[in-house]
Structure formats: structure tokens, C-alpha cells
Symmetry: C2
Subunit: 685 residues, 2 copies
């Protein structure tokens, strides 16, 4: 212990960088950085091990700023310790095309681990990072080789503490006894509406105790550096529970408005800035000041981190000699490449194979590939038996003391916590050694929408296994039957939505989902059985859309997905027998992947000259892009046996045919009749 003037100077430097950057941007949140600068200083300089010159070193300590609006705190630290964030970058805070956006984005800024700001997300990400650490340590550490030993630290505020996702993740973390996870709760009594007493009067520490966390309270968070250090030290010593330190701070410490909502989300006024700089002994005329002794102190710590990485690299080299397979596996995982030949394990099907629900086909894929792809961690939000997300000999990821699993287990029991599952998976993916897949009903992926969006924005290879994908789930009824869900996630950039029609398409989906390193996926799977189609192969389906049934004389293209493809194939027969109409069928398991094919190929699937009609048993929104007319369900479903429900809404060969006839008639006079794939201009993507 022992803190000197330089520590104080460093803390005030951080505070003033946040003050200057928000003032220059005329936008942003100075309050949290000013309040949390002391704990950030102690944590980064006394506890965390990292090498700013290699932000990807696998055994670095992780830091997550869940109250991401306070990102100037993080940007200031990254600059001061020597990451690739310059003083100019700080000056460009919140300016267009800068690497210092208004909330931390992992893919923009070196040293930012996860993308935060939407409240509660960072909290769940941190739990996921801690799960990943425990699992990776459990898998790779060997006697004499404590390879993976990092901690995950997370700051969060009242906003995160109120969000349901953080409650879910905290409960999960307590159950999982994540001793490698240390959080700091910024107890500043202020949220946007003012004093937290207007809405948030619970006993937060008691709640965390109820979850099974170790809790502490540092009362003088603005000044008590020794107390902060002691609390973090104590938290590290508790290895069988996650720790939370309630740190009572003054938001906007030093400002004339300190302790009020006035410093939360607005830059300080000029006269206030002058006053706070004087109070801290800085020249009030200068901006973005970094005293040399602060730089020296932080660069010294950074150098220690670089040395630690050096030492680790030597340990890892030695590890490679004694545990070559594990060494090579870890090296490979860190590149993001899958093991060679893994894809040969993917099941293929013939039309004579039995009809199987696609949730079971997905299970068969997991069963077939789980040994070949050891970084795949599956799981479910308490719907294992319904989502079919587990393989036969899977071991639970559980604290060994529970007697029902261990740290190297690859099956996650997320509980009924869809949002936390998604947020944790984002953290698990960000760690770098795991591909997480998690199951729930498609309808309840919506509960996780906040995190799903961040999977996409932050380029995480996360797989959402979403079963019971339509009115085809039957009796559970409208409360459980997705209508809007696929339109929602198709509208989300950098998200693949897969809805396979049979076994080969399911295997194709897994091929693309697992090999797309920067893109998450949702795979929508049926409860009901689906026949194996004559026209499907993995090779065709990995294009996202393909001709499942060709007819060069066709008068219409039926464009369909998932469970409706086989009904369209029946409709082709019905049209021929009853209307002497020839039709062809395009199966479109993933429109986002189809969109990336060249135009010539795409026009071979949905050609000019004949109308196309889409058939999907949910909202038609968006299908206009791939068809002239749309047959779907723009209302809620119904509770009943699935065949009765399909019949009620006319998703039958007759119902499809009736509309196909009208479509052909409606377009017979339009010249030229272009494929909807022809556009006047390129979309911004």
C-alpha cells in the first residue's frame, strides 16, 4: 500500500481528461469518470496485468465498463497506459469516424473488451468472460502450468443494477461460484431522473448476498485508496464466490455540481471547469494535460505487464513440449479457425430418410461434431429437452462442489434467463477460446433482444438455437408462436437468420454459422417433423438460397423457408394436377447469405419473367425483397394441434395453390416482369 502525490495526480489527470473531452465534444458523461477515477487508478495500476502493446494476449486481466456512458474513463486509461489510443483520439471523442465513440465498442478501440452502454450488458458480458476463463483454465491448465489465471473486473452503476439482465446474470454467477469475477458497484445515489430514492431503494448488497456473492462496502470511494486496495485484495482471496464491492462515490467529484444529476450526462460549464482544474492544482488555461510523472508511473506498470506476457510466452512454449495436443489446440482456437476436416462430420440425408423435426436434426449435428469442434459450448435457458441442445455424453459446466459437473464441462445450464444467456454468450465469445451456442424458443429470443443486437454490433460468433419456430409448435398457442420475430432479426445488420427445411439444410446452416467468425446467427427450428427433400444438399444450401425444384417451363417461383418448403413442393403437384400450372421452388434458408451471392446466381434462383410468391408462416414483412407476392401470417396464431393450426390459416397445398393462381394472373400483363432482385441502386451496408 502507500499512496503518494503522484497517485492523486494520476487520478485527477483521468478526471480532467474526461472533463476536457466531454467539453470539446459538447456531449457525453463526465460524472461517472470523475467519481470512479480513484478505483480505476488502483485497479489498473495495482492489480491488473495487461500488455498495452498486445491487447489480445489471452491471459490478460479483463476489464468491462458496464456503465459504458462513462467511457471517457476507459479511453483516458487506455491512452495513459499506452494502448493505441492517442491524445488526438481523446480530442476526437464522439466525433464521426473516431476510435472513441460515445459508448465503448470493442471493434473500434484497442483495449476495449466488449461493447457496452446499453445498461446491464457489460455486467452479463463480464459474467461470460469469467465463465470463459474458468472453462479455459479447466480445459488447458495442467499441474505446473497455470496458464489461464486472469481475473475479470467490471464496473457498474445504479442503471445496470436495476436492469433485469444484470439480475439474471448475477444470479447465474452466484450459482456458478465464479471466484475469478470482481465487480465494483458505483453507489453514487444518482441516476438520470435524479436521486435514486425516487425509484431504487432496495438493499443492493443484501440482494447480491442472496445470489451467493461475497460483498464489501468501501464508504469513502472518492479518497480512500487504501480501503479500495484492501477490498480488491480481499475479493481476490475469495475464490469460491464472485465478489462485489459497493463503492460510495460522489458523481462528478470536484465539480460545483458534484453529487447531482447535473454532472451525469452533460459536460461541465466553462467556469466550473476552470474551478475544478484550480482545485486539482492544474493550469485552468490548459486542456488535455498529462503530467510526465503520471505517464512514467503508468508506463512502468505497462512494462511490467509486457514482462508478464513474456514470461507467460515462455511458460506456454514449455507447455507445448509437455502437452503438445492442448498447446496446438489453444493456438488454433486463438486464430478463430476450426480444426481441419471437422465439416466431414456433418450429417447428410437422402430423401428416403425419415421425417425428423429440425430441432432433432440440430441435435444430430451437435452430436456429430462436438468432438471435432472442442471450442463449441452448448447450453439452454432451461429448455434442454425441448431445444435438443445437448449431446449424449455432455458434461455440465458447473462448480465441482455441486457434484453435477466441472469447469471443463461444455454444457451450460443458463436457467430461465434468456437475456443473461445472450449477454453471457457475448462475453464468452469475446474471451477468444469458445464458440457459444444457446437455446430457447424462437419467441423468447426476443427477451434477449438487447444482447442479440450487441452480438451483431460487436461481431461475436454466437449461435442462438431457436426451436418451436412458428405456429407449428401447436398447442402452446399465440403467446409462444413467433410472428414478428424473423422480420425483427432479418432487419438487424450483421445477423444471419437460418431456417432450414430439412437435414441437409440444417447441416449447411451449422457449416456457415461456425465458419463465420464475425457474424452471429439465429437458427430457427421446428417442433414438428419435416421430410428429407430430394432437391437439397449441403453445397446448395450454404449459398443461403437455391433452386430446390427446377422447371424450365415454370409459370411461378415459390420462395419458401423451413417447414413450408415441403408444403410448397406438394403445392407444385397440386397446381399441376388441378390447374395444369407448372411451378418451381426456391428454398431460402438464409436470406442474408443469399444476398452475398453474385447477381447472376441470385437471378438463377429467382428469375426474371415469371412472378415469385413467398411462403412463410409468419409476418410477410421483408419478403417483398424476394418475391412479387407474399403468403404469410400477419396476425397472431392459435392454440391447437399443429395440423389444425396450419389448416386454419390455409398453409396447405390448396391454400398455397389458390394464391399462386391469383399471382400468375395478376402479373400476366406486366412487361417486363423483373425479378424483385433487380434494384435501381445499391443499399448502404
Amino acid at each position: 500500500m502507500g499512496y503518494s502525490k503522484v497517485d492523486e495526480l494520476a487520478i485527477n489527470t483521468i478526471r480532467l481528461l474526461a472533463v476536457d473531452a466531454t467539453f470539446k465534444a459538447n456531449s457525453g458523461h463526465p460524472g461517472a469518470p470523475m467519481g470512479m477515477a480513484p478505483v480505476a487508478h488502483v485497479l489498473f495500476n495495482k492489480f491488473m496485468t495487461f500488455n498495452p502493446k498486445n491487447p489480445d494476449w489471452i491471459n490478460r486481466d479483463r476489464f468491462v465498463l458496464s456503465n459504458g456512458h462513462g467511457c471517457m474513463l476507459q479511453y483516458a486509461l487506455l491512452h495513459l497506459f499506452g494502448y493505441g489510443v492517442s491524445l488526438d483520439d481523446l480530442k476526437n471523442f464522439r466525433h464521426i469516424d473516431s476510435i472513441t465513440p460515445g459508448h465503448p465498442e470493442a471493434h473500434d478501440t484497442p483495449g476495449v473488451e466488449v461493447t457496452t452502454g446499453p445498461l446491464g450488458q457489460g455486467f452479463a458480458n463480464a459474467v461470460g468472460l469469467a465463465v470463459a476463463q474458468a472453462h479455459t483454465a479447466g480445459t488447458f491448465n495442467k499441474p505446473g502450468f497455470d496458464l489461464i489465471t486472469n481475473y475479470t473486473y467490471c464496473f457498474f452503476g445504479d442503471g445496470c443494477a436495476m436492469e433485469g439482465i444484470a439480475s439474471e446474470a448475477a444470479s447465474a454467477a452466484g450459482h456458478l461460484q465464479l471466484g475469478n469475477l470482481i465487480m465494483v458497484y458505483d453507489d453514487n445515489h444518482i441516476s438520470i431522473d435524479g436521486d435514486t430514492k425516487c425509484a431504487f431503494t432496495e438493499d443492493v448488497m443484501k440482494r447480491f448476498e442472496a445470489y451467493g456473492w461475497h460483498t464489501q462496502h468501501v464508504e469513502k470511494g472518492d479518497t480512500d485508496l487504501e480501503g479500495i486496495e484492501a477490498a480488491i485484495k480481499k475479493a481476490k482471496e475469495v475464490t469460491d464466490k464472485p465478489s462485489v464491492i459497493k463503492l460510495t462515490t460522489t458523481i462528478g467529484f470536484g465539480s460545483k455540481l458534484q453529487g447531482t444529476g447535473g454532472v451525469h450526462g452533460n459536460p461541465l460549464k466553462a467556469d466550473d471547469i476552470k474551478s475544478v482544474k484550480e482545485k486539482f492544482g492544474f493550469d485552468p488555461e490548459k486542456t488535455f494535460v498529462v503530467p510526465q510523472e503520471v505517464t512514467d508511473m503508468y508506463h512502468k506498470h505497462a512494462a511490467e505487464g509486457a514482462a508478464a506476457e513474456q514470461e507467460w510466452n515462455q511458460l506456454f512454449e514449455k507447455y507445448g513440449k509437455e502437452h503438445k495436443a492442448e498447446h496446438d489446440d489453444l493456438v488454433r482456437r486463438l486464430t478463430g479457425a476450426l480444426p481441419e476436416g471437422w465439416q466431414t462430420k456433418l450429417p447428410t440425408y437422402k430423401p428416403t430418410d425419415p421425417a425428423i423435426a429440425s430441432r432433432k436434426l440440430s441435435e444430430s449435428v451437435l452430436e456429430a461434431i462436438h468432438e471435432a469442434v472442442p471450442e463449441l459450448m452448448s447450453g439452454s435457458a432451461d429448455l434442454t429437452g425441448s431445444n435438443n441442445t445437448i449431446w449424449k455424453n455432455a458434461v455440465d459446466f458447473q462448480p465441482p462442489s455441486t457434484g453435477i459437473g466441472n469447469w471443463s464441462g461444455r454444457y451450460m445450464r443458463y436457467g430461465v434467463r434468456e437475456h443473461a444467456m445472450a449477454g453471457m454468450m457475448n462475453g464468452m465469445s469475446a474471451y477468444g477460446t469458445i464458440i457459444p451456442a444457446g437455446g430457447t424458443f424462437l419467441n423468447f429470443v426476443s427477451y434477449a433482444a438487447g444482447s442479440v443486437r450487441l452480438s451483431s454490433l460487436s461481431h461475436q460468433r454466437v449461435i442462438y438455437i431457436a426451436t418451436h419456430d412458428s405456429i407449428g409448435l401447436g398447442e402452446d398457442g399465440p403467446t409462444h408462436q413467433p410472428i414478428e420475430t424473423l422480420a425483427h432479426f432479418r432487419a438487424l445488420p450483421n445477423m444471419m437468420v437460418w431456417r432450414p427445411a430439412d437435414g441437409n439444410e440444417t447441416s449447411a446452416a451449422y457449416y456457415v454459422m461456425l465458419t463465420s467468425r464475425q457474424t452471429p446467427s439465429i437458427i430457427a427450428l421446428t417442433r414438428q417433423n419435416l421430410p428429407q427433400l430430394e432437391g437439397s444438399t449441403i453445397e446448395k444450401a450454404i449459398k443461403g438460397g437455391y433452386v430446390n425444384l427446377e422447371d424450365k417451363e415454370a409459370q411461378i417461383t415459390l420462395v419458401s423457408t423451413g417447414s413450408e418448403v415441403s408444403i410448397c413442393l406438394e403445392a407444385v403437384k397440386y397446381l399441376k394436377d388441378n390447374h395444369s400450372i407448372k411451378a418451381r421452388v426456391a428454398s431460402m434458408p438464409c436470406v442474408e447469405v443469399f444476398d452475398t451471392q453474385d447477381q447472376e446466381y441470385r437471378l438463377s434462383v429467382i428469375p426474371d419473367g415469371i412472378p415469385a410468391m413467398s411462403v412463410e408462416v409468419m409476418s410477410t414483412l421483408g419478403w417483398e425483397k424476394y418475391s412479387h407476392e407474399q403468403f404469410g401470417l400477419n396476425r397472431f396464431g392459435a392454440s391447437g394441434a399443429y395440423k389444425d393450426v396450419y389448416k386454419k390459416f390455409e398453409f396447405t397445398p390448396e391454400g398455397i395453390s389458390k394464391r399462386a393462381v391469383k399471382t400468375i394472373d395478376f402479373y400476366k400483363d406486366v412487361k417486363p416482369l423483373r425479378s424483385p432482385l433487380n434494384r435501381a441502386f445499391q443499399q448502404l451496408i
Copy 2:
């Protein structure tokens, strides 16, 4: 107290109705009804006051089954007490077009208060019902006239307890000291993945204590009717805290598989049914048996409820003499009609009025109408100053002991709890005396997607005030800038998505949102200023879409919403000046309302013969329905000053014009060029 054989018989009757109905449906959840029949019997028969012949009586006690998968428990009770649910309805459980769907739906079944099943929703609804009761009592009760005195009871299971929405709502309920709210936690140690010890090992009661709840534990929930009664009685006596009773039960009590996951979500096997009927002293050969003495007992209680309503009606009549204004106001509220003439308060604007952000225009509406529409309760998820959801002299809805509001206050401080806010608003709306409006950023309405969906499915008049509606929010960046959000909610049936372009359109939006009794709304509002448009009026905008700028010689229709309408109007000038092209502008503040206009009107807005191009600064998904070409943003946004961000993505007069020129050229040879509103067949709605 004092329980006899008839009580036991009644309990077993409920259990066996659930057993028979799930067996007949070959689907459903017998476990929870069998475990919770004892507490349901005690609660309904000893405590709850209701009149099955008038399920709408305002002062009835409310019951919410948050673990809605156990709905056969509720359907059995409704039948036995004499609601409009027949034995045949029970036999049609989970059959198509029955009034006994797979999860409880308020609009299908008399006596079901709210639509539940998606876990955690009923919990939040119950908190909302209790808020509504406290507010309605605070508004209408007078000395000598305890008009509104009902309790809200709610059952929930482990699944609900794990969901974030329930955590949020529980924290809010504790803060609000809702003494009129009594919950029963079905502690049966089983969820779908099996024993809760695999994922859920927290101390639930300690957590609720941390929230400020009164907690109790009844250990023998299968048999201890006296204990259950004493606990509910005690809970009623605690008037300054919500109460939760942890009831340890045996899931599937009586089955051979009792206490296991085997009875959670699957009907009992035939031999098990035989055995359980014998165990309970029922004839194993008979199904759907209701002993006469059970009917007699329950009908006696129902008659007492009818008498209580009678007595209440007399009290209310007397109240009408002493408090005529309040009496008439309550009578009116219960019809769902707004006060006569309220709409004359809606602000109107001229083009010479200053440019104002639509979030501020929304605030002006609230300011103008809040006295005329006393049932409107506004609020925000801790973004009051950003959402502009409060009027000047608004009083907080708060427990008086906090010193910052009272029970008749009409402004809700939801905290950073978007999902609970939405679920609570569904309950508040369901109560019957309130129109709730709640604010957050549009991007974070997604956090509430689970509840928003149920607003639509259950026809609640709930208003989501969603500010910061696009990249126009600027500096906060991609984590906060909606892209997929409007597509998501436009795909949701029975949801109106409004995005007004100026003041008149904002007033129009409120007119339609407040007068649509069966449909919820999301109103998307800007952070940036918008000019008042020459072509807008309330009368035009309430049609959902209209011609804002006409030109009979136009070569293209620009179809736009919100902040992009005024840029389109500038593009019209740019096209004329730079390309000698004439263009017209259709403003489409609400496509769902536009869809309900007759075809002739709609074709006058988006006519045949010239191409239409949509302009909206987010996902283009769905705009194909109203335009030939779409200009939007199918990628994430950027952090920066909003004008820089608009420029980056070319949402400028030049950027729009460039694409309009290409669109005109692209369609010049197509004959006939039909409006996209012409369709080959009707959609299912």
C-alpha cells in the same frame, strides 16, 4: 379456519380436471395445477371476492397466474366457481378455436385478467394491477367511501423467479410499498431442466427482503391448509409492503412421478391417472368429474361475491350523490371513452412556428391534454428529462411516506427497468381505469420486447414514448441508434408504430393512440429539431399516410416518415433545380393506420404510373410494401454530431435526389407501372 373433507375433495377435483384435460389434449402441464391446487382453493374460496356473473366488476380481487403454463388450474377454478367456462370448454383445452388455449389469454376467457405464459410477464402485470388499484383508490376513495379496496394475488414459479422482468418488477413493487399485492411462490424445486439445483440456488426470500418485501414460508404446501390461510391473512395485514409467501409444494402431487420434471410439461400416463384417481378416492373409469358438494361450496362463495358486488353498487350510487364529478368520471373511464372535447386541446402548428424536436412536441401534447384526460398516467424508465414525458405540475405516483409524491400522483418513476415498465403498463391498462404511457429510448423498447408483444396480443391501450429514434441522436453512437427496431414492431400484429414528422403529425398520433381502445402504440420521436411542415394537418395525418406535397406532373413519389420528410421536401427542390424533375412527397407517420384506409384513398397517396421511393434512416425491411425502391440504412450507425452522421450516410437532399433519379430511370420501361399497393390477394390479418 377449519377444513373438512369437502375442501380436500375440491382440491382433488381441481387436480383431476387438470389431469383429465391435459390427457385429453395430449398436451399441457399437469404438474403445477396438481401442486398448487391447495393454495388456489384456500385463496379463491376463503379470501377472494369476485362475481363470476360479472367478471368486469371494477372492485373484484385480481388473480394472475404468472406461471401460465399451469392454466388448467385457472380454467378449472373458473369453471367450478361458475364463470362462463363450461365443462366442454375444459374438454376442448388446447383445441383449435376453444376458449381454453394453451396459455391464459385475457381476451379469450372470462375471468382471465391478463395474458400470461411467457415467464415473468404475469408477475409484472400483477405489480401493474396493484399500482392501478392504489392509484384508483387514491383518486376516487373518499371518507366513508372505500370504493376501491381490491387485492391483487399472483402465483409464480421458479421460471418467473429467474426472469429479469420479475426481478425488475419486484424491485419496483418494493420501492412502491404495494401493500395490496400478495404473491405465492411455488417452491417445487423443479424446472424444465430438472432439479433447480442445476441453475438456481439463490436464496429467493432473502432477495425479496432486499427489495423491501414482507416474506413468509409455508413448508407443507401440499397439505397445510391452515398454514396457507394464516399466511395469506398475515400478508393482508401488512399494508406497507408487498408480500410473498414461499410455498413448498410437490409438483404433480399424487402422480407416480410427483416431485420430478416428468410431470411438468407432459400429461400423465393412463396407468398413472388410474392410480392417482384411486388414491384420491375418485372412480378411475370416469373423467372430468365434479362432485356436487364441490359445486355447491364454490357456488356459495360465488353468490357471496355477487352479493358483495350488489352492496358495492349501492355504495357507488350513494357516492354518486355526494361526489358526482368523481362518480361520472369513473363511470366514463370504465366505458373506455375519453372525456368529450378532449381533442380540442391538441396543439396545432403553422409553418412559421419554430423547428422543434418531436420529443418536445410530444411533451407539449402531454402538457396540453393531461387535465382533459385524467386517466392518462405518464412515466419513464429513468429518462424523464430525455423522453420529455412529464408535464409541469405533475405529481409522482409514490408512497406518501417517501415525501416525494402520493397515490393519486400520475407520474411513474419506473427506474431503469424497461421490461418491467412495459409489463406493469399492461397490468395497469388491464385494470380498467388508466391509460399508461411510458418512455425510453426507441432502441431500448427492444429490452421490453417480451411485454410489448403482449400489449398487442392482449389488446392493451398502452403507449410507448420512444425518443432518440434514429442515427439523428448523434453522439451516443451505434449502441443507441435504432436500425432494426421499427421493422420489428411494424411486423408485430395489432401494434401501431407512429413516427411523426412535425407538430401536427404528433398531435394526430396522440389522437389515434388515445382513441384506439384495443391497440397499443409506439411513438418514435426525434432528439433533433424538425421544422413545421406546410402540408401537414391533424386531419390528414390521422389517416396514417397522406400527400404532404402534391404535384400532378410528378415523376416520382417520395414516401417518408418523421425526420426524413422535411429532407425529402428539400430534395424536391433539389430535383427541380438540378435535374428538372418533378416529385411529390407522401408522409407516412403510421403505416398500420394507413393500411386500414380504403384502396382508392391509398392509391391517391401512392399512385399508379410513377415509381415510389421510400426514405427512412433505418432498415428498409418492409418498405417494399409502399415503394418500388428503398433508401435506408441496412448497417449500424456512427457516433458523431447528428448532421455529420446524416451526411456520412447521404441522408441529404443530394443523396435522396441521386437515388430518385436512378429510380425514375430504372422504371421508365415498365408497363403498367403499378403502385405497390396493388396486390394479387388479401393478406390474412
